[in-house]
């Protein structure tokens, strides 16, 4: 994947298995968000391809943030009505036929008490739960989250991790997420991919988040220090 002359990703080959929780970690500028954008179909890869299973899975996306003026009087349930597929939301408000689905999504994410609150007054942790509720309205099979643990305190991260674990076990969701928070990754992920322009290694959280391995993977070019990891061609 290249942008002009700069190469963001090279030789990245990742297979996401149904029902797994895959975390992507790596230093800033490693191409994590670019990888997510390719997976979501927002960026066509310069070379190579993105293959989806047949039929293609429904994707729910949880962006890192929203671009809006916090003073804008948009309530949480109105935001979710805008997120609801097929909702007309003719003149703002919440269409009656979608109210139950919105309430259910808020309940699943433990955010029902926030329904009438203004979106701009929600904390980082609350906003993540609302964004996940918005993604659940898509009835997703794959949930893609871009740095869900950013701007949240430790307690909020633990709550978020528990919520995502519950959604995974209750609905069999496949999770793909990017995070800088190793505690969050260790709690939630089945597999961890370390990205630094290329895949520097893929393995279990215990293997990949090992203090002997990580400094090498975060170096530029990265160094695969452990045998047995898939890290072919590492080093740009």
């Amino acid at each position: 994947m290249t942008f002009g002359r700069s190469r963001a990703l090279q030789d990245v080959s990742l297979t996401l298995r149904q029902g797994e929780r895959l975390a992507v970690v790596g230093p800033n500028g490693a191409g994590k968000t670019t990888l997510l954008r390719v997976v979501l179909g927002l960026l066509p890869p310069t070379s190579g391809e993105r293959k989806l299973s047949t039929p293609p899975p429904t994707i729910g996306y949880v962006p890192q943030r929203l671009h809006f003026d916090p003073e804008f009087p948009l309530t949480v349930e109105e935001f979710l009505a805008i997120n609801q597929p097929g909702s007309r939301a003719w003149f703002g408000g919440v269409p009656r036929r979608h109210r139950a689905a919105i309430q259910e999504a808020l309940e699943q994410t433990g955010a029902l008490d926030l329904a009438r609150q203004r979106l701009g007054t929600c904390s980082g942790g609350e906003l993540q739960r609302i964004l996940i509720a918005g993604a659940l309205l898509q009835k997703p099979q794959l949930l893609v989250l871009d740095e869900p643990s950013a701007n949240i305190d430790r307690r909020g991260i633990d709550t978020l991790s528990e919520l995502l674990q519950n959604l995974h076990s209750d609905f069999g969701l496949t999770l793909l997420f990017v995070s800088h928070d190793f505690h969050f990754v260790a709690n939630l992920a089945d597999r961890v991919a370390c990205l630094n322009g290329e895949i520097c290694g893929i393995g279990s959280p215990e293997e990949m988040l090992d203090e002997h391995y990580l400094p090498g993977a975060y170096r530029d070019p990265c160094t695969p220090v452990r045998a047995g990891f898939h890290a072919a061609g590492c080093g740009r």
Partner: protein
Amino acid sequence: MSWSDLWGYEFMRYALLSALILGPTCALLGVFVTLRGMAFFSDALAHSAITGVALGLLLQERTGLDLDPMWFVFIFSVALALIMAWMNRHSSLAPDTVISFSFTGSVALGVVIISWLGKYRLLDSILFGSIYANDLNDVIRQAILSLIVIGFLVSQMRGFALSTLSPELAHVQQLPSRLLHYLFAVLVAATVALSLKMLGALLLSALIVIPAATAKLVGGSFRSLLLIAVSIGLLVPPSGVWASAQLNLPTGPAIVLGNVLLLFTCYVGKSLHRISMNNSGKRSELKHGLRSGR
């Protein structure tokens, strides 16, 4: 002079109808203009209408055809809006930089053409508007445009709102965020072109931005924001026309001042409400503290 007296004059009837049609349309559009942070964009398009009029006059003079310059304003505004929207998406320049040079460049071109044609007197009506020059054709065109703009905004409400909050989220949900981005720029341009006669290039963006800004101060939800903004658009412009007739004021400035006065009143009211809420909160805290012996 009563409303019925005013209605008796044909020019006043058309002015009031224009105000009733364009006020709510501009206000509804303004909600999305402010949500998308495009107030400067609409202001720039209004100012660049000078060039559209100038190009129309130039073509009229060179070809001898009797064309309404408003069509040139429409075509020029739409073209400029699309260019600015494309540059905002694709160039590395900041959006306000793109708008700034497009706006000043086009105004400069318009003034050069007008000076070349020796029609400086026209600048007055372009800059400040001439709502009493409206005729039946203008009112019909404005009504058709309003139906189109309101129809698009209301039917594509979800797409416009979601692509503003997160273009990626809109794309993942299969909403045509890129198309909506350009379509919105065209809607702003078309509204600016047809509202030019009412307020003029200098004051027009007030009709778009101020009702939404006022509604944002007092609205508690997106629905209330939309309803309040449209209500302001329905009430203030006709009241401005009426006040200008009563007090012998220029109409465009009277409408803008009416909007500004309402905005200021809402701002002061909200600030006072906030202060009284804070004070009552402090009082109840104090009472609670005394009761619990702290």
